[in-house]
């Protein structure tokens, strides 16, 4: 390094630089393992998160050797259908960024349009700024971000909130990571009308729908968490239930599964109460086929029943 004639190649890189650095990845690997364990499926998302984590680890090492100065842009967009794990992934992302010390704490402030946009002139800017201040040092997660922009109402204050956000995303890059989330098609339209936002977001992650098999695994995991399990017949019936439910409107992946399991538990409880007498632990924890088959999904007239949108 201190030689009179430094060895510099044609790209200006010092070829004699012999400093070495080890990538510290234990904490990050721990979080990534947790993501793998907790979230079923989502292979493309997990792969992308792994790539981002690797990039950040390398970036940090480069920075320690003085090879990079620009901090990387970390703003992200998560698009996908309801119930595909966008919010959970945002929480894990905050942990990963915290492990790599790109954010100072791992807190996530989750907001929607209501928290950012005011009701009258002059109300929006302070409201948005307050949310940004609260999120500083951590991650700001804007759920259903496309609601911020309402082209049909030109007096809408959403645009103002977007402008303030853009400014914060640019100038407070060291203090704030913004993750916007929403349904794919609507988010695309949202980005088309706000190209500035699109270009300031470095990572666009798409969350795929779950397959029937993955949803079955999700169901097993959720039941296990609550101390229940399917009987052999119950599990078969649940697979059948999922096949039918997935064809219906307003199917929202893991969230629908969780709601369905809640209903199964209600029916199981009712059956046990009606049955009376003494109960074994097995009976108290087992979800049987009859609970699943009692669902309206299996009845013929289910088409005519009004389905409440379950988001």
């Amino acid at each position: 390094m201190s030689t009179a004639q430094p060895y510099v190649d044609e790209n200006g890189v010092d070829t004699q630089d012999e400093r070495r650095i080890t990538l510290e990845c234990d904490g990050v690997r721990h979080v990534l393992d947790k993501v793998n364990r907790e979230l079923v499926g989502l292979a493309p998302v997990k792969a992308r998160i792994g790539q981002i984590a690797a990039l950040l680890m390398v970036d940090r090492a480069r920075r320690e050797l003085g090879l990079t100065t620009e901090p990387p842009t970390l703003h992200m967009s998560f698009t996908g259908n309801p119930g595909t794990g966008k919010t959970t992934m945002a929480l894990r992302m905050a942990e990963i960024l915290h492990e790599l010390s790109y954010v100072r704490s791992s807190h996530v402030i989750s907001v929607t349009r209501d928290d950012l946009v005011g009701q009258y002139i002059g109300h929006t800017a302070p409201k948005t700024k307050e949310v940004i201040k609260r999120a500083m040092g951590g991650v700001l997660f804007i759920d259903e971000a496309y609601y911020l922009y309402r082209p049909e109402n030109e007096r809408d204050y959403g645009q103002e909130a977007i402008e303030i956000l853009l400014q914060a995303m640019e100038s407070d890059r060291d203090d704030l990571v913004v993750i916007v989330a929403g349904y794919k098609d609507r988010m695309e339209r949202f980005f088309q009308s706000n190209p500035g936002l699109h270009s300031r977001i470095a990572h666009h992650l798409e969350f795929p729908n779950y397959s029937a098999d993955e949803l079955l695994t999700v169901g097993d995991l959720l039941l296990e968490e609550q101390g229940y399990h399917f009987t052999e017949a119950g599990r078969k019936a649940f697979a059948d239930y999922l096949e039918r439910r997935m064809q219906q409107p307003h199917f929202s992946n893991a969230r629908s599964v969780r709601n369905a399991l809640d209903r199964f538990r209600l029916r199981q409880a009712m059956r046990l109460v009606e049955q009376g007498g003494s109960l074994s632990a097995e009976e108290l924890t087992a979800i049987d086929a009859q609970e699943v088959l009692a669902s309206t999904v299996f009845s013929k007239e289910s088409e005519s029943l009004p389905h409440l949108p379950s988001r």
Partner: protein
């Protein structure tokens, strides 16, 4: 005459990093931090003007620092202090208060003696700065 009010006022002025550390300490205790300013340095002037709202639910001092910077830009020659309010039961009071900005030239106070009945004297203190109207004092 350098006025000494609140914490750390006998120390050299805090740097931004030191302010950040103090604010972090307040936020970690769950206190709401606010920024206030005034150009009347009298010690009995306890109610200063608020700059923006008190900041609740903050986790990181970056938001407070932003506010301090904005306030310094708006009032470069005023006194600016940072307060941390503890809302927990039994306290309900500011737990921290320290000055983060002061005028370059602080003229100090004069002692006024008022002769009253029977040759007695009443003493009072007035800042030289408040002779001028609010806003042009420093």
């Amino acid at each position: 005459m350098r006025i000494t009010q609140g914490q750390f006022s006998f120390l050299p002025p805090l740097t931004d990093d030191q302010i950040k550390t103090q604010v972090k300490w307040a936020l970690d205790h769950g206190w709401a931090v606010s920024v206030e300013y005034t150009d009347d340095p009298h010690p009995r002037n306890t109610y200063w003007e608020m700059y923006g709202h008190p900041m609740f639910d903050l986790r990181d001092p970056a938001g407070v620092m932003q506010e301090i910077v904005e306030c310094r830009q708006a009032f470069p020659t005023h006194y600016i202090r940072v307060m941390a309010f503890d809302s927990s039961k039994g306290w309900e009071t500011p737990r921290m208060s320290f000055i983060v900005n002061r005028p370059d030239n602080e003229p100090g106070f004069r002692l006024e003696r008022q002769a009253v009945e029977g040759r007695s004297l009443r003493y009072t203190m007035t800042s030289y700065a408040v002779d001028r109207p609010e806003g042009d004092r420093y």
